[in-house]
Subunit: 112 residues, 2 copies
């Protein structure tokens, strides 16, 4: 599972984006396009320390530990989360560059 290339991108408007750019950004959006994963990123991003332990994240959902682990893997594989194992616990943190890559897609896209 190699680090995917954190696509930087032209905004949606202006000049149309190339097929290659679309292929690069789509996986990021796909990783975020799930309610559970959105909440995961949100939870991690909004935590005081900027990171969150899997055990805490598990408690926030009515899902199996296996499922949460799967979603975290998807987000990590997409390059949206950093993973840090400390002792028995694993901490995930958001990668600001990744979120920024997605942000630039939309910020300039909207007229007002």
């Amino acid at each position: 599972m190699s680090e995917p290339g954190l696509a930087c991108c032209t905004p949606l408007s202006g000049t149309a984006m190339s097929a290659e750019q679309a292929e690069q950004v789509a996986p990021l959006l796909k990783a975020l396009a799930d309610p559970v994963r959105l909440r995961l990123v949100s939870l991690i991003a909004s935590s005081a320390s900027g990171e969150a332990c899997v055990c805490d994240l598990n408690d926030a959902f009515d899902l199996t530990q296996a499922t949460i682990s799967h979603h975290l893997k998807v987000l990590h594989s997409a390059g949206l989360l950093d993973r840090d194992k400390r002792g028995v616990w694993v901490y995930y943190a958001v990668r600001p560059e990744a979120l920024r890559a997605v942000a630039t897609l939309f910020t300039t896209a909207v007229p007002a």
Copy 2:
């Protein structure tokens, strides 16, 4: 196929988003999380008139007309595109509010 509620949303950071908010925004991202659909929105948004005819969009891709029509339907159903039939042709235009809803998700989310 009813008009889905153009979810407005708290940014990803700050306080964590609720499950309901996640359920509302996820479909928007899911609709955009495809290379073809990203390019479609991009093409439409970047066109001078702010709208594009299906016939033109068809030519921009190496896909069947049925497939393009399907993708446009997905984007329209998600509330991202407006549809306007004029004579034999159908014109699609982006709905800025929808894009803005997604934009607010990320703009405030990124520190710097």
